[in-house]
Symmetry: C3
Subunit: 673 residues, 3 copies
């Protein structure tokens, strides 16, 4: 990337009146240098089947070109025209529990439906053909936050059965054995009469179907990529805005897409990041989603959507928009693009507000964007293409996520549970983030996923034997492994290990266990961690049985004969630590700090949240150090390095006291000697 | 009305044995002078299609006539016989999300279904023809709590599309533009292939359909009225028991019926009022529903249903039944009718108990009714036809209610919200009620809706430009306007203003705003209001930008560049106050009191809840003052007027100390000099 | 029974590899002397229609026989092969609200479907024919936790209408009158056009249908029994594992089965008992379910399923498994069988863990089973066939349970309620249990159900007049009756009494009432009970009107003219106490203790929870006294009797101080002189 891209999604088609020129003028003032267009409005471009009208696209590209603003074109396939559904009712997705969807919402089509694919291909070709030759079109986004949307109609299930046939070499006995289908008389002894998978209570079969649905996403994106690639110039990129689990904001691993596999279709990784703000702004979601997306291609990435004003809860306090924008860059983003330019006046996302409110006037948020744009114009060469060299990786897995949905950690006999996979992943990520331990976020699918000094592996419930072997080898060769309860329980078919747990890693961890419980009035006792106050065990606990391992902490009140909670083991040249339970936040922080500092000899930052430190090397080979203040109080810190304070444009000595205003930051560039 | 009507709904057909004469004897003892009959039992009158048997109706009218008890006849169309559904399955309503209803419940038919209408008309004609000529039949109730019940089957949607064609002159471009249907590819470019409105995510289209459903109610009632009018005598009235939003009791504006429009079909307004009692009795629901219903025809009204014993939670404490009965009269009711006479022994409303328990014996509640009946026999001429002359009106709107359902005030990205339109309306009504500011409740549909000194307009989110102009004119001519956040945001199609907010009223309020947020640790600061304690901002806040307006209060912790919360403006000869947020109850009370007293120069009552004061002029031209004690403690008050204490039958001097017992009242008649 | 059976459910078919011999070896070590097999795996025995393979059954029986382990055979009909559903889609149950079920889950077939019954019969015959002649097969279990699963498809409803025809002699007027169908126009005037019962709002009709569904269970089990009886040897028993309402553990009366009626098909009663453990272990569920099941045949019973490790919440603390096992015996169980031997590696109950964890290794829970097995081998003759002679019976009723589902105790107008029938039943049972008042649990269906000194009858909302007469006669003849609010309200058709309440028992209780309410700030006042602290009335209260009865307690804050809460009456030779409300636990305990001790002259135990005492006579005619410590603290008690401490093998003098360890017990055998 030549410069930091600062952008907005722009919907000329949604405007209540034509104000393209006024918009562009305001964009210029705010330093906006790129817009994303066209991904939402198929029915406007093709009002009736085969009658295309791209005049609004042409017009916007023309005017942006004149203004020197770049354009990203989105293929308009995530929301279909009503005439398409009128043509073939099966365009709408059929889902477990709710049957065939009704037209209206977006992202509820069957992405395998032939009618949908036929008409999608046609409109994509028309649009890309028309725009690929435009000078200021710098890249393409395929569809939008693509998923399989739970598609599970007859056609999809037939294809899934074919998929299983391939997986099990056409051998039903293998399938019955792998999935344990004798249970509750669920055996399948005829490929032809394969029961409706939507009714299954077999977690292995159910998870296999969800994995198949993720596969459909990979295929769909590759299919779109192949079409666009016929037209795309070498210098134009291909991207996709991956999003994350949604809890009203971006929350951990996306269950319905394997980002890594899906990203094979594109040339640069991109994502959507939405996060709490105001008094709840921590930067954690920006960092997690950024670390995830950067790790997909181990390179800089695009933030294709993030909030400007967003929902009322998200209206940023003064300087928060600026803090957020730099936070993206500090994680390795090369673009920050708001969703969206102007707030929409109708439909259902009207209060997911853009940079401009409904009145199109300058407002406090827009004025802050002007500041950001102005700073970036100046600092872009220093900031762009920041590279990371993290020694730590957090290992996550779609398969484990799905597995723990079918087999929840703390399931009870009323079939309720409260702890999800992402809760555990984010609990660990939060500790790393708060302690300023920067990390990549990898999956066992990735080449080189163990090429780190330290791997943090929370709740990797299921994986292939190969994966477990790679983890063992990682430690043996000198790696430091920190893992948790519910790791290495089952194989890739979700069959729970009958050879003990942690499966394949008992020697590595120097311990095993076969009992676990829900803590009740249980506390951790430990000489090693010397907890400052009562360390409360929460949610779930395994009773570890150390063989070679050292006991780091024990339970004071637990069932079973043994009561070990945390162990450490030397294995080969490395160390393997296993944390068998969840605990209160403060104790958890002590545990992570102590393990990293003392056992893994990791060079800890002297700062902790709300001071967040992020580092990298810029394109001049200089180390950049970002120091963020994620609080409403002014804070003073001793500079961790000498260097140029880029925003203040003054030299700072190492250990010089830096004042960081509320919700603000300092950037230091340390020139290579 | 010649006298206060004291009545019960009476279901002879539900009795486990014939006790008509015993019932009438007990009614006479309790002063019951009217019964409502016949609205629930179609299947009893027409056991098979076309075979009518109204012998029970005849019998009840005969016996009531002998006893001097009046009768109101209800048309029996709200619950259909099973044979009707057997004849045409489409009689049952088809609703969004749940498909075609199953027979069993009442009020789940399609009120536009031809079979239903044909058989309804026949049974109505038979019943009214037979009863209209009876001397003691004083009026008719059309159907019962009529709504469209969410009807949205194919037939209804086809009719809705025709309705839209008329609304937009057959021009789809107009419709697409008005509703913003380009969004998410939702354009409609063919009237023939109009998509299923039940799937829409477009708030404008969705709200238009709900308004259409309300229109069906108006048409249905007018259709029934036209039938009954063929038989009705001049002296017989036509009414309908309007009900309100239901949260286990009557709660604010009815979303599914525009009471004002629907009341065009009838000659006297009527309603159902159910409310908390026991320690939770405040009289507020009685007052709100009464003020609403009285304002429909600006005249006295009928309480067609209210609780006697009701659910266990509602069993009244000693004297509460009496307090409630008088509270209705003090709001302008000319009838108080209990639902119902005897508790039902089967089915599903058995514990919605009547005046009599299941054993038909005298009980404490019945004995209190005897007291009420006895007092009213005596006082009826003084109490009946009480007229109000309120200077204040609360402005409410079905359209705004529906709009804020589609665009909730505090919606977040998890698509949750907690503040509804009625919450805001009732928050304002509660303040007025507690401060003894009596008001009418009007809608912009009504002729003369701005003919008041003060208008309170909470959250009038959407309306026509005409309505906004009328509000501006009201202030210009000298009116006092108190309005709130989320007022004048959108036009009648729910398109949010792109010319700023408050739409069309920026000059009137002397301010505008374009940012808003959810408060977090935010407090109001104000010299004007001098809050007694921290004034906590709650739920939602707009950041106002005053032009000409005076700042009355500001936020201490808010996003944006500006932080103004409450403004007042002089505009023309009037004043316009805008409250940009919600706040804690105590501060809210201070705000309302101060605005009314100091800015609007309103003559405040010296009493406040739990002393409730209601006034009016009786048919002798004398002013009646009701003083209610809504508490379990005996209270002493200085009499606000001289006059005759009607229940005690003694003269009271102004400022004389009046003792009001727990849950009791005093009525003063001040003879015109 | 010749010995205490100690068993496990064993699923050879679910094993991930063949380890039958290792399993048997481990069973032998743990003293396991019986296994239940075959009830879950129809699709394994009949992979395609008509092709049977029982080799795994044969093998397991063979090997068990060699090892001297007994076998119980379950008929494999609770979970159907997918080919059966493929053959006839109507095998799947059609249920209210959710339509036809999808294949996958167990226990969701229509138990009246012809295809299901045809193929069930064939597989049952094949299995039983093959196993009935085996020496070590000691009995058969019919199906598994059988219910009607809400079956209400067309066929079932047609049969139900035939059932109603018989019930009402084909007279629809009788039915309309009995059920009060005139209400809301719900009359039925044609048997042919009987409306879909799934839509009904008529509680009488709805409850009649639920009773019919329970009848289908009786018929289904009798049908299976008849088949098995063609093959069964005299010495082989027939059982069924009845289960209870499920709230994540066994909770009170099973709504969907009348255990007593269903148990007519079998020769020995059996049940499933699951309960909270760890810090929440009280033994109450073991006692309740045990007392219920023992009372079915007034004889010893089988615990066919109870938890070993179960869900993580259930992992037992040290000695809890032992405490639980003896608790079953002390209630009269002759078998304790764990569900199940080994934890399952796939599907959906993997974390409902067995005695063995997934690794099949010895674990703490297994090791405790070894202790139990060893003790029982020694003590079996002393412990087996323990007989009870309780003077107290708790009267429960499926009909009352269903009635209070349709007419909830504290229903409000938002149609919410929080108190269920089982809540009330268990509140009373808990008091008895905690005070060591042992009881039988009977229903009015049972012969001799009033043959006790004391009957406790909570919330018997509906019953036949005959039942109410039997209760009156019981008191008249000298019995002591303790009954509660919501007893004797309605007849067997759920028609509420129009002749006053308690229906038919007003003279017996010497009081009546016709008003009730939800308490709000209400307290009990009483000289008789002299409450230690404020006695808070909770949930519901009736205002009793005593005629002859003595007032035991009153309300301090209640609607109505009267405020009596608890009454006692002498009637004939007996006493009848009526408790009109719920209250806080401590006051409740005082009330029960005082009523039993002073009014009913019951010989109270000197111990109370957490010391639980259970008694009975063993087969040597000696009295056994079990003393359980249900707490984590060591407790000392004075021995209530002299005798041999069986586990310690030493003589104890009366009043000698016994130390009982945490979660432990002492058993005393007092030899008959």
């Amino acid at each position: 990337m030549e410069e930091i891209l600062y952008g907005v999604a722009y919907y000329y088609e949604y405007l209540p009146y034509d104000r393209l020129k006024e918009d562009i003028e305001m964009m210029k003032k705010a330093g906006i240098n790129v817009v994303r267009i066209a991904e939402s409005t198929w029915s406007t471009y093709e009002k009736s089947p085969g009658e295309f009208d791209f005049s609004s696209v042409d017009l916007v590209i023309d005017e942006m070109e004149k203004a020197g603003i770049k354009v990203i074109i989105g293929t308009p396939t995530y929301a279909v025209p009503s005439w398409l559904v009128d043509m073939d009712a099966e365009v709408m997705v059929t889902r477990k529990g709710s049957g065939r969807a009704i037209y209206g919402q977006r992202q509820i089509m069957d992405i395998t439906n032939k009618t949908y694919l036929y008409h999608s291909e046609r409109v994509i070709r028309k649009l890309i053909e028309r725009t690929a030759n435009r000078a200021n079109v710098i890249g393409f986004q395929l569809d939008n936050e693509t998923k399989a949307y739970g598609t599970s109609g007859k056609n999809v299930q037939i294809a899934f059965v074919e998929h299983l046939k391939r997986l099990f070499d056409g051998d039903l006995d293998k399938l019955n054995a792998a999935y344990g289908l004798d249970y509750w008389s669920n055996r399948i002894d005829s490929w032809e009469n394969f029961p409706d998978v939507n009714g299954t209570i077999n977690g292995s079969l159910g998870a296999a179907f969800e994995e198949y649905q993720r596969l459909l996403v990979d295929e769909f994106l590759q299919w779109q990529a192949d079409i666009v690639n016929e037209y795309r110039r070498e210098d134009q990129f291909l991207t996709q805005n991956f999003d994350f689990e949604w809890r009203g904001y971006s929350y951990g691993v996306q269950p319905e897409v394997n980002h890594y596999k899906a990203s094979q279709a594109i040339t640069i990784a991109g994502c959507d990041i939405y996060h709490p703000t105001q008094d709840l702004l921590t930067g954690k979601e920006i960092a997690f989603c950024g670390d995830s997306t950067r790790s997909l291609k181990k390179d800089n990435y695009l933030v294709l959507e993030t909030e400007a004003q967003g929902f009322p809860q998200w209206t940023p306090f003064r300087t928060q928009l600026l803090l957020q924008a730099y936070s993206h860059l500090a994680s390795g983003a090369n673009m920050v693009m708001y969703w969206h330019w102007h707030s929409i006046h109708n439909a259902c996302e009207s209060y997911w507000r853009g940079l401009l409110s409904h009145d199109f006037k300058e407002n406090a948020t827009y004025r802050e964007a002007v500041t950001i744009g102005s700073e970036w114009k100046d600092l872009s060469p220093k900031l762009v293409n920041l590279k990371k060299h993290n020694k730590v990786a957090l290992v996550v897995s779609n398969e484990a996520l799905t597995a723990l949905k079918w087999f929840p950690v703390d399931l009870n006999a009323a079939f309720q549970s409260s702890i999800s996979y992402n809760d555990i992943v984010l609990a660990y990520y939060t500790q790393l983030y708060n302690l300023n331990i920067e990390c990549d976020i990898v999956t066992p699918d990735m080449v080189g996923w163990t090429d780190y000094e330290i791997l943090v592996v929370p709740a990797l419930y299921s994986a292939s034997d190969e994966t477990y072997r790679e983890l063992a080898a990682f430690v043996e060769k000198g790696g430091n492994l920190l893992s948790t309860f519910k790791t290495a329980v089952a194989n890739e078919h979700l069959k729970i290990s009958y050879e003990g747990t942690p499966k394949g890693l008992q020697e590595t961890f120097g311990m095993q266990y076969n009992q676990f419980a829900i803590p009740s009035k249980t506390r951790l006792t430990s000489e090693f961690f010397s907890f400052e106050k009562d360390a409360e065990v929460q949610g779930f606990m395994e009773m570890l049985e150390p063989d070679e391992a050292t006991v780091l902490a024990s339970y004071d009140h637990a069932p079973g004969d043994r009561d070990v909670a945390i162990t450490a083991n030397e294995y080969g040249k490395g160390k393997a630590v296993y944390v068998g339970c969840m605990m209160d936040d403060q104790s958890f922080s002590q545990v992570i700090r102590k393990i990293f500092e003392e056992l893994f000899a990791y060079q800890m930052s002297e700062y902790a949240f709300p001071i967040i430190v992020k580092k990298g090397t810029n394109q001049f080979g200089n180390e950049l150090t970002y120091l963020f203040n994620y609080s409403e109080k002014e804070l003073a810190v001793a500079s961790p390095t000498e260097g140029m304070s880029l925003r203040e444009k003054r030299n700072i000595a190492k250990n010089e006291s830096l004042i960081i205003k509320p919700w603000d930051l300092v950037i230091l560039e340390n020139e290579q000697q």
